[in-house]
Homo-oligomer: 312 residues x 2
DNA sequence: TGGAGCGATTGAAAATTGCTATCGAAGCTG
DNA sequence: CAGCTTCGATAGCAATTTTCAATCGCTCCA
């Protein structure tokens, strides 16, 4: 039964019977039959039938929600039983947005000190991709904004607030200032993330609110690229303070707080809302809470509350 | 896989391989092998092996939590797909505590008007039994106290507050009063529910707080028994106002508010906290919210809030 | 010490599963 | 529009898995 549900998930994700089958490690007829079995068992069509894959039916979409949940729990159960066997052993995959990548080390390093047999995969993703991967069980956790775009059915641990800095060379127009306004930032040429990144959208919004149309002279989906350009002394960029600290400043590069408005956005660890949590997830959550206490005590205090009872 | 998990649940509930097998509709060797397969798949012992069933291991208990969840979701998925097929058809089982039994009709009647193909089973249970049955997937919903003893992983819809009345004959000591105190109630002979009922424990606590030791002259686990005794004109009892209204008063029986302290306890509909909810559950929740608005507008207002995002 | 109860084991029958090969419909191309 | 490709469905067959009836061995208790 559960393997059929995996077929459905794969089919929805690949939108193609053959590729879905390959992803599941079975042949196409097997996957085809599996879907047909689900349809028979429920007595409803799940996929729109045509000469090729068109899409799921309404019932199929609903079934997909359940399938994701059940398959997710089944995998979590496996992981959890493994953890009961050997202590925490295994693999955590984390999807993080580019501006959060540098701080992941603050999470993974103390975690590994406590659980040496856990391996990590950290993926750079847009916030939308990160949530999608969490949903599709392709990662165990995500680090992204938790106060902006709507999240799905997840639990969050607030980690810190992003405060923005202008990174610019010491001898540039604002290189010696102790703060600049967004309006001023808007006047100089910038390297920024690509617009699929939420950080870029936030910066765009702040620039527009201050009356300038964002027109970066260079954009990339990697912070490394932006930073490398700033290091040449000829470019500027905007990045969160935490990230600027991690990258380290040189004599040539200064980090200038941007004010007016001094807007902040909260970053957090996002994990599937599953009860019981797997031992792995709950260890990660525990570490994240500890980290939050260090990074931003005010946030952490609020997050200490127990899980509220859902009132529907 | 899922059927094996059902084996585990049945085994935990029956504490006996043979009976568990029967409950699952398989033979004992099949169930035995199923459990062994789970153990093999996870690489851990789930049951304490001995000449007879002793209990689950620690890992087994943990696995049981997951199994309940996964099996519950799988059943919910089936129900939900059925509902998508024919509209709302099927069976809702509700466990309610005795003092709430009368108001169930206010939930089921309008529900059935909208969904004529749904059948109901309403079971009278103690609050502890009701929650256990909800947990074991033996009922779809419960109606019980939501502000006293801790609930499990469930969603609640507050319905109304229980306010207590003395039901007594018109010609008895307090028959003409417009209120009595708990201390006064403690002085007269009462028929009360048995102590396994939470309502009884609440009343006991209130009586003790007012300085009398509860010593009912008759106790029963059925409100009907209590009411029948009061109707004879020779007995008194304490019951929630809502229930007293439903049973209807005669000239001979009066309902006197009890004050000092005028304590109230909240009753609510309790359903599994599952996302997505089945069509059935969500229709029931919707009806319960509507009912709450009629019964106790102040409560309903608070309950309108969306499900809070869990912050762990 | 013998019987009853419980769970494990065994071997054979039955059911299910998954594969290869192939088909037919639809879309694309020259 | 013929030929080619892609996609999903179907058929037949081999392998695996599942289930059951029968029975065994252990333990507890009378």
């Amino acid at each position: 039964m559960i393997d059929r549900l995996e077929f459905l998930i794969a089919l929805a994700s690949e939108q193609h019977f053959g590729r879905a089958a390959e992803a599941c490690g079975v042949t196409q007829p097997t996957l085809s039959a599996g879907i047909k079995q689900l349809e028979g068992m429920f007595g409803v069509m799940l996929v729109q039938r045509g000469s090729r894959f068109i899409g799921l039916t309404e019932e199929g979409e609903r079934a997909l929600e359940w399938a994701r949940r059940i398959v997710g729990d089944a995998r979590a159960m496996r992981q959890d039983m493994d953890a009961m066997k050997h202590g925490l052993v295994g693999h955590i995959r984390i999807a993080a947005i580019p501006t959060a990548l540098a701080m992941i080390a603050m999470l993974t390093t103390p975690f590994r000190a406590q659980h040496p047999d856990v391996r990590f995969t950290v993926l750079s993703r847009t916030s939308v991709e990160a949530l999608a991967q969490l949903e599709n069980l392709e990662v165990e956790a995500a680090v992204s904004y938790i106060d902006n775009e709507p999240l799905g059915r997840v639990s969050v641990v607030p980690l810190y607030r992003e405060r923005y800095r202008l990174l610019t060379s010491a001898d540039s127009e604002f290189g010696q200032r102790d703060h600049v306004t967004w309006a001023e930032v808007g006047r100089i040429p910038l390297c920024l993330l690509t617009p699929d990144m939420q950080n870029r959208r936030i910066i765009d919004k702040l620039l527009r609110a201050s009356g300038t149309e964002p027109a970066p002279t260079l954009q990339s989906n990697s912070m490394i690229v932006l930073y490398a350009h700033v290091r040449t002394g000829r470019w500027s960029t905007v990045m969160p303070a935490k990230l600027a600290e991690t990258l380290g400043l040189t004599d040539a590069v200064r980090s200038v707080p941007i004010v007016d408005p001094e807007e902040t956005h909260t970053m957090g660890l996002i994990v599937p809302d599953r009860e019981p949590m797997t031992a792995m997830t709950s260890a990660l959550v525990k570490e994240a809470k500890r980290l939050a206490k260090v990074l931003e005590p005010s946030l952490a205090a609020g997050a200490e509350s127990l899980r509220p009872r859902p009132i529907v």
